[in-house]
Structure formats: C-alpha cells, structure tokens
Amino acid sequence: MTPYAIELHHITKTFGSVVANRDVSLAVNKGEILSLLGENGSGKTTLMNMLSGIYYPDEGEIYVEGERVEIRDPKDAYALGIGMVHQHFKLIDVFTALENIALVLDAHERYDLKAVREKARAICERYGFVIDLDQKVYEMSVSQKQTLEIIKMLYRGARLLILDEPTAVLTPQETERLFAVLRAMRADGKSIIIITHKLHEVLEISDRVSILRKGEYVGTVETERATEDSLTEMMVGRKVELNIERPLSSERHLRLSVHNLSVQSADGVRVLDGVTFDAYSGEILGIAGISGNGQKELLEAIAGLQKTLPDSSVLYYPDDDRDSSAEQLIGKTPRDIRDMGVHLSFVPEDRLGMGLVGSMGMTDNMMLKSYNEGGSPIADRSAPRKLAEEIREELDVVTPSIATPVSRLSGGNVQKVLVGREIAATPTVLMTAYAVRGLDINTSYTIYHLLNEQKQRGVAILYVGEDLDVLVDLCDRILVLCGGKCNGVLDARHTTKEEIGLLMTSLKQGKGGDQR
C-alpha cells in the first residue's frame, strides 16, 4: 500500500485560551485534490499554517509519505516538498516574476538567472501556465500573481500544494483556468489541498472533502457521494439551543430603504453589487455571509465612509410616517449625516482600529463623539466623564480607572465601551459588525441584551454576525450576502442554519425575485 502524501494525526493548536484546532486528523493521497471546507473561524487556515511551518502544533503528529516529520519553519516545509499559497501573496512588488522565483533558491546553488528562467519555463509548459517572467509584480493582476506563487512553489519542488481560498479573488474564467492547471498537476501525481467556501467549486474540482467545524474535524466524504445540501449540513452542524430572547416590538416602521447599493474596490472589483433591502424600526436585521463578501462595505456605505457607485440609494425616514420626507444619505459625509439629525451609530469590525483610540482613556474616547459640541473653544470634559462613569457602572466594564488607556482593557471590555458609547448617542439606526467577536458567553449575552433593549426602544438594528446559531435566535430577519450580492432575505423565525449556509456559499443565479 502506498503511503499517504501527508497525514495529520490528532493535531491540537491553541492560542491563549482559544482552541483553533482540536484533535484534527486527516490525510491526503498522492495525486489527489482534497477540499477543506468549513465556516469562518473553523480553523482551516490555522491547520494549514502548521503544514507550511508558520505555526507549530501543540499536540499531534505529522507524517509525510509515511515518515514522521517536524515542521518548525517555512524552510522545513519547503524541504519536505510542501508549498502553500497564502491569501496574501508573499511576493516582492518591485521585483520581476523571475526575480521572485530566484529569491527562493537554495543559497548554495549558483546565482544564475538564465538557468532559473529555463527551469521556470519548463514548469510553465508542463502545466500550462501563461506568464511573462520579466513582468514586474506590481503590474500584474491578482490572477497573475497567484499563478506566479504557484510556479514559485513548484520551482521549489513542492509535491503537496496548499491553496488558501484561491478563487476568492478570481473571475469565473480565471477560476476555470486555475482548475485546469490543478487538474494537470493532479495528473502529474501532485497532491493538492484547497481551502474554499464555495460548494459548487468543491464539487467540481475535488476528489474528497474534509470538513472542519469550530476547530474540530467533522469527517471526510468522497465528492462523488456529496451534494451541496449534505456538505452544508456537515459544515454548519446541528442546531444549538442558545436561549437568546427575541422580544417582539409593537411598533414597526420603515427606517432605511437601501436600493441598488454598489461599491467598487480599489482594484476595480465590485465588492458590493446592487444590494437592495429595507430596515424597520424595532427590528434586528441580521446580515450573514462568509467574511469579505461585502459586509464591511455595506455598513460603511450607509455610514457615509465608502464611495458608492452611481444609482446607489440609501433613503432614511426620520419619522414613523412613511410618506414623510425621506432623506438621501448617499453623497453625504458622516458628519453631514449626523448634522441632519440622522443618527447612525456604527460599531466597526476593527474595534481598536476605527472605533476607539487605544492609547486614550474612556473619557477621551467618549469625547471623540462630542468634542465639537457647544460653541466654546474649550472642550467640555465633564459630560464625557459622566458618560464614561455611567457606562462603566451599567455595563460592568472592568478597568482600574476611566482614565486607563482602553488598549489595556480586555477585548470584552473594549467592546462594551464601544457599544455603550454608540448606544448613548440614542440612535435611530444602530449598525454593529461582529459585536461579540472574541467575547465570552456572559459578555456576549450582555451585548445581546443591550441590542434587544435598543430594539424595543424602536431602533432599527443591523447586526453583522458570523455565528449562525446566534443570527437565527437573535434576529428578526436575516439578509444573506454572497459575493457582494444580496442572496436572499429570510425570516429568522422560520429558517434553518442549513438554508442560510447554502445561501452563503452558493450564489443563486439570476433569481433576483426570490427574496422573501
């Protein structure tokens, strides 16, 4: 019996108190494409980083072609024939393709660019890569950079190639080309592990699928016997009872009407594509999706922090009466939006990066929202200080003093400070992104409770979350984003995790009218 190309036995990896991988075992045959499937944070990338030498497992063993190995840094991985193409390419922008390939040469080999060029050409011909070796990396498209990364790994002698979400940045045509190359490599006896969220791609390219859920190994199935539904069920798992309360609010008025909202990234990709939905007062609208599918852009566009494409529209209804004058938010600055009396409170994804200033205390962070109030050139410190004390008191923020820099607080307490400040502004629309990320159960429930309180006060809440169980239990309706498009709006009371999971991973094509 031929040994596996690579085997993982009982791998466990923890970061502090967070378990990224628990007792994961899997194996890849020679000449096989294995898909690694799982939700955000299920530990796929961490697991692969242990193969490429970036992390070292706490427990467990790795075997390459039947032999026990230790992979302590990227060099060890190269030596064992393991090459990983990361989501963020490891290329030098001002170098040519050829120079980037030469950079990974063994130091004792002679430095001879001509020989490098010939060997690289041979690799390209063998697998059908198309690349200009003299092109500078900064002039390349994302797909060309990815091709270069793969060539680089093959040049290094990779027999096992790991691709971390390779299709996330590619057009359908580029994906086809990539898959053709991967098949050629498989025919050549190479093993490939591909991390992806897209179910139809899993079914198209792979021989077997291994599934991870919350850091644990769920199982491996032959692709031939799998369907999108069966994979989704394995990926999201059975429903967990959370007992998050979901009060019904009596009043329900149209608050925000988003129409055809589109945002283009700096690379010219439509990260948000014609999103249309309504948000009502007294309602929590959940926004689900694999991370990077437009959630951040959606919230930022509404908050006035993103440039939108023409024909985008965000109408805000300040009064409960629908026929009253609606205000267009597109084209206004965040400051304009507030000056109009429109209260949008925004909890960004990156708590310390955008929401708070880490080196300032609670009081000063409160002042960030109030410094320009009142006509006096001297800022009023007493009101923010009082607010800081209130938040500390009511939300149980653990801090030595309200003057302690917030960066020294634990993640949960930082989050409480931020949410507390936004709520104190008595918003009519409250947008939160990953409000409970990294928080323990109790603190998470405190946050859910706060959001429910706001909902009953008549606030329209947009809740971007990643835990499907929470979304199903907390929200009233759930909007699912996929590839920057609205892939459906579901009634949270009558939906299942499987339904959401399917909408997150496979875009319904041309079925725009299917939104409930």
Binding site: I54, P74, K75, Y78, K90, L91, I92, D93, V94, F95, E99, A102, L103, V104, L105, A107, Y111, K136, Y138
Partner: protein
C-alpha cells in the same frame, strides 16, 4: 577652458565625493529597510577616528610607513563608523526602537564624541605636513598634468576614483548577485524574504554596519583631503551629512545616479563663488546662503517629480523605516 570653470570643477568634485561616500553607505543601509538619519554623526566618527589614528601613529613612530599610514586611517575610520552603525542596528533591529529617533540621536552622539575628543587629543593640530595628508592628496602622475582635461579628470586623490568604483560595484551587487537580491527583498518585504529563508536580522545588521562604514569614509575624506588635513571642529561635516541623506533621495536609491548627482550637488553648492565671476556679475554676500540651498531645492524637485510619476522603481524600499517582527505576520 576657462580658469574659473576649472577651479569650480576642482572644488565641486571633491565636495561631491564626500557626500557620495555618505550617500552610498546610506543607500546600502536603506536597501535593508533601515532609515539611518545618523549619517552626519557617523561621518564625524569616521573622520575623527581615521584622522586621529594616522596622526597618533605618525607621531609615535620614528619612521612611519607610507602605506600603513593610509591603511590605518581607512580601517580605523571604517571601524569607528561601523560601531555607530552597530549601535543603531542594536537599537532598531534587536530592540525595534523608532528608527528616526535613533538616527537623530546618533547624529548628536557622533558629533559630540568627535568634537570632544577632537578638542582634547588633537587640539586643532593639523597634519598638513604629514604622510597621510600627502598620500590622500597625491594625484595621478603624468595624466594630471595634461592641460585642462587632465587637471579636471585626473587631478584628485585616490579616494575620488575609489568612490566611483564603489558606486559601480554596488550597482553590480544590487542587480547581479544573490546577496543583493536578498538584501533588496529584505528592504521591500521582510516577511516574504523571511518565508523564502533569508535571515532578515542578519542582512539588516550587515547592511547597516557596512553602510555606516562606507559613510564614515566620507568623513575621513573630508578631513584628510578636502579640509587639507586639518581637524576642524566646525559644523561643516554635519551639513555634508544631511546633504548625503538628501542625495540618497535624489538618486532614487540607485548607486550609479550618486556619481553624477554628487558632483551636481557639489557644483550647485559652490555656484555662489564661481558663477558670478563666470558671468561677470557681483552678488551681495547675503545671497550666498540662499544659493547654497540649491542642492536641497533640487532634492525637493526630485521628490515632487518622482511622487507625481509614482513609478515604483523610483520609490524608497517599501518597508523603509519599519521594524520587522516575525510573530506579527
């Protein structure tokens, strides 16, 4: 050729050579991603150590050896400047201190050390009659006597030609060798270099220390040739050090550009003395300082032009000024 023009060139080239050494060393340093603003201090250290060692050696030995004297000055200047680079490296690479602050502190430190010991040991003494001064001044025989051309092309000490050779060698090093490729990779994207198996810390240390050594030779050349073997406690070396930093930007981090760029800087700096008589003008004294700003003005123009074009080849190394910490990836 006009005698004023010849005098101008004879002044501009040695002046340019000082800052060429400073700039070449700083290019090596910056290619590794370290922005060392301690160049003036390092040039002070090099100039002082080289001058003092040769001077003390000549006074201590009855019959000093000609070659040994020159070698001693060069080696001591290089080593003292490297020591400055080592301080900088330890602070910024190992301790990951802020590069700008560390560099500026090193400038103050180098000036202080050199001036303090300069006053106490050398006490304004000169080496005008010494071997080492003569060695640095020696022009090419025969060729330098061949009229105006010979005078302007061959009429300098050996350090001028060594600087040109060094610039060409560095160009070759950066573009044609594995170590050069690795060094550029470290300065552009240390995480990528690290993943490819390049030892980032080693390259940064070596480049910063050797770069400092090269910069230090500029200080030595200033004292032993340009300043005619007099240890001067004026702040001139500092001004030259900042010009060297400006020249690095002017060259867009390419050693070959340093050759003509440094001579251009020299010509612009001395424009006030030679241009008026060349054109038959007379200028009031206060204009002098304004004209001496020209190299900096040219640097700003270069910055504006390269920023407008945004050609990636003309930009500084991408991770310039940033500390590298593997665990942050």
């Amino acid at each position: 050729m006009n005698s004023t023009l010849i005098a101008w060139i004879l002044r501009a080239v040695p002046f340019g050579t000082i800052i060429m050494y400073g700039a070449l060393g700083e290019i090596v340093t910056e290619k590794s991603g370290n922005l060392n603003l301690g160049v003036p201090g390092i040039m002070y250290l090099g100039g002082f150590a080289g001058f003092a060692s040769a001077y003390l050696y000549e006074n201590a030995v009855a019959e000093p050896n000609y070659l040994l004297c020159v070698l001693l000055a060069l080696v001591c200047a290089f080593l003292a400047a490297m020591a400055g680079g080592l301080i900088y490296s330890f602070l910024t690479i190992t301790l990951r201190a802020n590069q700008n602050v560390t560099g500026l502190a090193l400038t103050t430190f180098g000036m202080g050390v050199a001036n303090f010991f300069g006053v106490f040991i050398l006490n304004g003494r000169t080496a005008t009659q010494s071997l080492v001064y003569r060695a640095f001044q020696t022009k090419m025989p025969v060729l330098s006597g061949l009229g105006a051309l010979g005078q302007t092309v061959f009429g300098y000490g050996f350090m001028v030609y060594a600087a040109i050779a060094l610039a060409v060698a560095l160009h070759f090093f950066f573009t044609r060798t594995r170590a050069g490729l690795n060094l550029r990779a470290v300065g552009e994207n240390p995480a990528t270099a690290d993943a490819a198996g390049v030892s980032v810390a080693r390259y940064k240390y070596l480049a910063t220390c050797l770069g400092a050594g090269i910069s230090g030779l500029g200080g030595l050349y200033y004292v032993l040739d340009y300043n005619q073997g007099i240890w001067a406690t004026t702040g001139q070396i500092e001004a030259l050090g900042w010009l060297a930093v400006a020249l690095v930007i002017f060259t867009t981090w390419k050693p070959l550009n340093a050759i003509w760029g440094s001579y251009l800087f020299g010509a612009l700096y001395w424009l006030y003395q030679f241009m008026p008589s060349l054109l038959g003008w007379s200028l009031p004294g206060y204009v002098t300082d304004l004209i001496q700003m020209l190299p900096y003005v040219v640097t700003i123009i270069v910055l504006v032009v390269t920023s407008l074009h945004k050609r990636r080849e003309n930009q500084p190394p991408a991770s310039l000024g940033l500390a590298y910490f593997r665990e942050e990836r």
